[in-house]
């Protein structure tokens, strides 16, 4: 039971971070299908720091450095989407899909090259091991492993809420997603706001990536990407109706079902059902389809999302 709640909170943290990222991009008017790829690159950025930063610098330095490097990696990668979608008015779905494929391919090639060079050709895997660095993030209360990333997610939630609803910036950002022409007519720079939206989504997606790969394991095979978590986060965002606190609740729900897949063997009644593990692996996706089918009819999506803004079309 402790294990279940621990994993639920961890996976919910990932989903919350990434879904908030998606929320910022979409609120500014850009659909970010590339979150999955941003997660991979963010995870890579964080994992490299975990591998190479000496442990002697202390846990706090490690935590800050890892988060900053993941956020930076995710943000830089999200610029690919920003440039294509905002400046070049490219199709956002294709760009996002390409970014997902590109991220896994680039991470695999990069990590393999690194491992191959370091081992003189003996190790051609795409794994990064970070067993010791991972401990910096964990505080044990009895059997419960508290993870600092949970706090990060909570802080992100509060900051996102303030940014979106309590300051001028948020009002402007939302205006660009609902009616960019109107926003432009009162002097808001739509391109700048959309850049901000996409880059914030890159930061949050990148942090989400490192949280995901360190959630249950102490090494990661980058060939595997992040198993559709970026897309799951998009479902969470839609279910949460593009509102931070509803997204948080949705993330908890989805995180629970995802966690069940990891720990169901610990529950006798679930184990006795003798279902193949595939069923549990499928659960989050089935639930999200069901939820989407039931809730999408009256969509509250930002009205201008996915439409490139063209100054001339006012």
């Amino acid at each position: 039971m402790i294990l279940l709640s621990q994993y639920t909170l961890l996976f919910a943290s990932v989903l919350l971070l990434v879904a908030l990222g998606g929320c910022f991009a979409e609120r500014s008017g850009v659909i970010n299908i590339g979150l999955e790829g941003i997660m991979v690159i963010g995870a890579l950025g964080g994992a490299l720091v975990m591998k190479f930063l000496p442990m002697e610098l202390g846990a706090a330095t490690m935590i800050v450095a890892v988060i900053l490097s993941s956020a930076l990696a995710g943000m830089l990668y999200s610029l690919l989407l920003a440039v294509a979608a905002i400046n070049f008015k490219a199709d956002q779905t294709i760009t996002g899909t390409a970014m997902n494929m590109l991220a896994t391919a680039a991470a695999t090639v990069g990590v393999k090259a690194m491992n191959t060079a370091a081992s003189g050709g003996n190790d051609v895997s795409s794994d990064i091991v970070y067993t010791r660095a991972r401990d910096a993030f964990i505080v044990r209360f009895g059997n419960f492993e508290f993870n600092w990333f949970m706090v990060v997610a909570l802080v992100a939630l509060l900051v996102a809420w303030v940014l979106l609803y309590k300051v001028k910036f948020g009002l402007r950002l939302r205006a660009c997603g609902e009616h960019p022409q109107a926003a432009d007519s009162v002097g808001i720079n739509v391109y700048k706001m959309r850049y901000a939206g996409v880059m914030i989504s890159g930061i949050l997606g990148g942090i989400g990536g490192i949280v995901y790969i360190t959630a249950g394991v102490s090494s990661w095979k980058f060939e595997n990407g992040v198993a559709g978590f970026g897309f799951l986060a998009l479902a969470v965002m839609i279910f949460g109706q593009w509102k931070p606190f509803k997204i948080a609740l949705a993330a908890l729900l989805f995180g629970f079902f995802r966690a069940l897949g990891n720990v169901y063997t610990g529950f006798d009644f679930l184990k006795n059902l003798n279902l193949p593990s595939g069923i549990y692996n499928m659960l989050p996706y089935i639930i999200s389809l069901l939820v989407l089918a039931l809730t999408s009819k009256s969509s509250l999506a930002p009205k201008a999302e996915g439409i490139p803004y063209d100054k001339g079309s006012r």
Partner: protein
């Protein structure tokens, strides 16, 4: 925009070809830079061996044999690309092609190994499975307003785990390995017939009529989209959903039907691979096979035309096989995956690139017109 004496750049096909070539060049260039960063000394050799692919074998027989393997893998990829472009013409982004492909593999292998059915039954089953999944996405879109991209992605994973479970059953999975049993040994009727095609390709076993079948399907898709009333209605629905509705087209039916056809194409693609015996399904696989996603790359690289997709599908498989040729103690085979994903990313700019060409042509034309008759304004497209 139909004027005589206009430059060759004016043709849409030429613009598309030019844009695609530019994407390929860009992808190769960035790929080359990546190789240079990893290890400069062998980078040139590596990129040429990716491009040479099977031509690195000196004997003509070996070249033909490996060309046969490339073509065998081109057929399913082409089908996935057709699936993506068919849906895209109707305004939907069928990222679910990957899952429809997986469902097709599941149905084809189940029918072939467990029920020992002949190949054409397996193929129809694969098409039906893909169509079912596609129709489900389409129905979710029309009745519940669920974005096809999102439902497609969820269904990809559901299809993957279901397939792993189904194909792990006794009698299908090889008890000694994570793969399914070989179709070749169990049910030769289940293999797509070769009809002598293999003799053209150095007796490569995997060469079957799957290859011409895929090309025929490309022509059929082209015909439906461009030469039939049905295709016209589908495209109209994609261009403007409401206009189609008010002019009396059955817009909901059209969307579901489109996704069904797209799904059937992807499902058939899987049967064209797994029923040739070139590969078995790995039942422990934890990520959706790349074939469907590569189909997206091919569809866009082929300029969203069925005929262009044939060339693009071949090109992608050509460099994928070439990826295995690089010096694996320094580089890795995924370099070709990197190049193909770079190519799709660049393909997102194709529309912009074409627009730039058109704008330039129009400006030149306007300037010419103004010079001729100063009192009249330029023509607006």
């Amino acid at each position: 925009m139909k004027k005589k004496r206009s430059s060759i750049l004016r043709y849409d096909g030429v613009q598309t070809l030019l844009a695609s070539l530019l994407c390929i060049l860009g992808g190769l260039l960035i790929g080359f830079i990546v190789l240079l960063i990893i290890e400069p000394s062998g980078a040139w050799e590596a990129i040429t061996s990716v491009l040479k692919s099977y031509f690195r074998y000196s004997s003509a027989k070996m070249q033909l044999k490996y060309l046969g393997q490339v073509l065998t893998r081109t057929a399913p990829l082409l089908m996935c690309a057709l699936s993506v472009l068919f849906a895209y013409k109707v305004g939907m982004f069928n990222i679910g092609a990957a899952g429809q492909y997986v469902a097709g593999a599941c149905a084809a292998l189940y029918m072939g190994i467990a029920l020992k059915m002949p190949w054409w039954v397996c193929m129809i089953a694969a098409m039906a499975a893909g169509a079912l999944l596609g129709a489900f996405s389409g129905a979710l879109k029309t009745y519940c307003n669920v974005n096809v991209v999102i439902s497609g992605i969820m269904l990809n994973w559901i299809a993957l785990y279901t397939t792993n479970m189904v194909l792990s059953m006794d009698g299908i999975k090889n008890p000694m390995s994570p793969y399914t049993m070989q179709l070749r040994g169990l049910n030769t009727e289940g293999l797509i017939p070769q009809m002598g095609l293999n003799t053209l390709f150095g007796n490569e076993k995997s060469v079957t009529i799957a290859i011409p079948l895929a090309i025929v399907m490309a022509i059929v898709v082209w015909f439906i989209l461009n030469k039939t009333k049905f295709g016209y209605e589908l495209k109209a629905t994609g261009y403007n959903f409401h206009a189609a509705k008010y002019s009396g087209m059955k817009e909901n039916r059209n969307i579901i039907l489109t996704m069904m056809i797209a799904g059937a194409l992807a499902g058939m693609g899987a049967s064209l691979l797994y029923l040739t015996g070139i590969e078995e399904w790995e039942t422990t696989i934890s990520s959706v096979p790349a074939m469907g996603f590569n189909g997206i790359a091919v569809a866009f690289l082929g300029g969203l035309s069925p005929i262009g997709s044939i060339l693009a599908a071949y090109f992608i498989q050509h460099i994928t096989m070439g990826g295995g040729n690089v010096d694996l103690s320094v580089y890795c085979a995924q370099i070709s995956g990197l190049i193909s994903s770079l190519i799709i990313f660049l393909c997102a700019f194709v529309a912009f690139f074409k627009l730039a060409i058109q704008n330039r042509l129009r400006k030149r034309e306007e300037a010419a017109l103004l010079a001729a008759k100063p009192e009249k304004g330029g023509e607006n497209a």
